[in-house]
Symmetry: C2
Subunit: 388 residues, 2 copies
């Protein structure tokens, strides 16, 4: 088998991405520039990324047979989501396939409990938390750390799903009952007064070479990222702390690829919320705003190629998500001409039908000042929604 | 049939590009962002762009049957080269298909004689020229305008092919004899002492809305573009003249899409050399250096969508072509890891096997100063060649 990092004369390196959503779709744009053949393992032929590459396999990310067949046509296998079976990844690696991030890394990334335990063990700042299995444990945690208490599913949550705010023991009881019925394990976490949410992206190669993107502020509503502002308007020492934490995590989990570390800023400093070891919504701004996008650096990392500069090409950038709202056209392209008339915005639509709450595109604007970039991007998004 | 510019609810606009070289390949990257389904009419399944889109038809650009079948699956048809049959384009339009640029525009663009006659008629500055069919006519032109004389095939030349420099009547005789034997019609043109070559890109919508990119300097060797420097270091009034000329040409030929106007700078001003009505090598810098790339504005124009800002995002940019040299690896990806280590360069490889003289990629660098950007891009190209 050809080594992924050899770039053997005459053949393009083939990277296989498990998952074919918008993250794989934008990875394809980066792959085209570098002459990388991107293969995707899609659930359906009309998945976002399956529409834009000729190399599509249909299969399940938790099926070892499907993964083995997919890996056979790739030099390296990576992911656009964490919903993969770790045992299958281990089997894939054992069969001689290059898999990045590794099964060990994915195992940590897909489990908030493991993450928290690891970070606490490393002495990294996390909110007070405990694993809970019964309402009594939540009640004891609330008594010790105060109410409300945040309850989180350890696995499988995203975009606000799998997170509940329990105001008191009665509210917690309902969540715990449901979780027990659905077989979910839960974390209880102190409700921390947050001044801002932040995200720190890091890319890391197998040998340890790493780059840390400019720290960004993420604006969330109901647990869904709506806006990203780059760089975060934050004291230099806090940005430096975020960078140090993210690089420490990358090292500790043996990261290969890109990782987003979601952080809470409190009055006293920053706390680690959770990590995602794949291209991440908080890094979409990097397509236009950085010398090398998160997608390109992810590909470079998994092929063990030198990582690219993460320098900002403009003083400020803002990314606003296009999220389905009631009454929006099924295809966001319908309102594209109106939105394109907004000066200097960079519009991305994902080839997905809009449904309320679904991320179907995003808009990035660069500028001298964050507020101006944010206004322009938000105006284009409103026009895409049909509400502008 | 759906109108291309409607963006009908639920369906992606489908643009068909005749030709599947690197220009179509880079157009696919722009199409992905805008949710446009790019179809290509390729000569072979491994053509540069056919490797990166699932929508590939195999056929000949001069076959009406192939064009009709291709157009049937597209809302608008456009081109990545001019080697199309104008009569077939007229038949395509007559059958109700949207074709941009139009057959009339393509007819001018693919014929240097017609271009020159049109520009002269419009009072735009061109070098003295005449159509020649026999050596006596070249001899008379040389006597009137001095030797050497430039001889050009009216049609089909590119990258230095189809252009000859005749030092005297004897040399001209050889070229004319060969041209007559091969059925080529020729232009004779005064050999103009050039201080620099320039290129002005313009995009224009059906209604007339136009944008003119920053004027660039193109560095040619043996008729092949090697480097592009943006913006051209030129007096403001000359840049303004180039812009005015290009917009006048766009208007005169009813351009829809992107056009490159190649210009000569002489001690006395600028002269028009020739035009290309498609994305052009002199515009590759715009992918990273401008708010909207030539590829995106071409797509917007043919769909009659608002054109995007052409503002530079950095003070200076340089693009250096990767052109096959003897001894270079067949696949330029082989040397990619070395080249990626050069700080802040943006590498594009086209998925083509390298052969001496063949364009197989390019590198763009942005910077505060042109010289620095050029040095970095050139260093990356040398490493890709294996000579760095």
């Amino acid at each position: 088998m050809r080594e992924a990092n050899e770039g053997a004369d005459g053949a393009a390196p083939r990277v296989g991405m498990v998952g074919a959503g918008q993250l794989a779709r934008m990875t394809q744009q980066a792959a085209i520039s570098l002459g990388i053949e991107l293969h995707v393992l899609a659930g359906a032929p009309d998945d976002s990324a399956a529409r834009v590459t000729p190399h599509v396999s249909i299969g399940r990310p938790d099926s070892l047979d499907d993964l083995l067949a997919f890996a056979a046509c790739c030099d390296a296998v990576t992911f656009d989501h964490e919903l993969v079976d770790v045992a299958a990844l281990r089997a894939l690696a054992a069969a001689g396939h290059t898999v990045y991030p590794s099964a060990d890394t994915v195992e940590v990334a897909q489990d908030k409990g493991r993450q928290r335990e690891l970070f606490a063990r490393l002495g990294l700042p996390v909110p007070p938390f405990v694993r809970v299995h019964a309402i009594d444990e939540v009640r004891a945690f609330g008594a010790a750390h105060g109410w409300p208490v945040v309850l989180k599913a350890e696995r499988g949550g995203y975009d606000g799903r799998g997170v509940w705010l329990a105001q008191d023991a009665a509210g917690a009881g309902e969540v715990v009952d449901q979780a027990v019925r659905r077989g979910l394990s839960l974390l209880a976490e102190q409700f921390v007064p947050i001044t801002r949410e932040l995200a720190q992206l890091v890319a890391r190669r197998p040998g340890g070479e790493s780059v840390a993107y400019p720290l960004v502020e993420t604006v969330q509503r109901e647990g869904i990222c709506h806006e990203v502002l780059a760089p975060a308007a934050i004291a230099l020492e806090r940005a430096e702390e975020a960078r140090r934490l993210a690089l420490a995590i990358a090292e500790a989990i043996g990261l290969v690829g890109i990782m987003a570390v979601e952080l809470f800023e409190t009055r006293d400093g920053v706390l680690i919320n959770e990590i995602a070891c794949r291209p991440h919504n908080s890094g979409h701004f990097s397509i236009e705003a950085c010398a090398t996008s998160q997608f390109e650096n992810h590909l470079r990392a998994v092929l063990d190629w030198p990582l690219g500069s993460i320098a900002l090409v403009a003083p400020a950038a803002a990314m606003v998500n296009l999220i389905g709202v009631p009454g929006m056209p099924r295809n966001p392209v319908a309102n594209l001409p109106a939105a394109l008339a907004v000066e200097g915005v960079r519009i991305h639509v994902y080839g997905k039908e809009s449904r309320p709450g679904r991320k179907v595109g995003h808009v990035t604007a660069l500028g001298e000042r964050t507020a101006d970039a944010r206004d322009r991007a938000a105006r284009a998004v409103a026009l895409l929604e049909g509400s502008g």
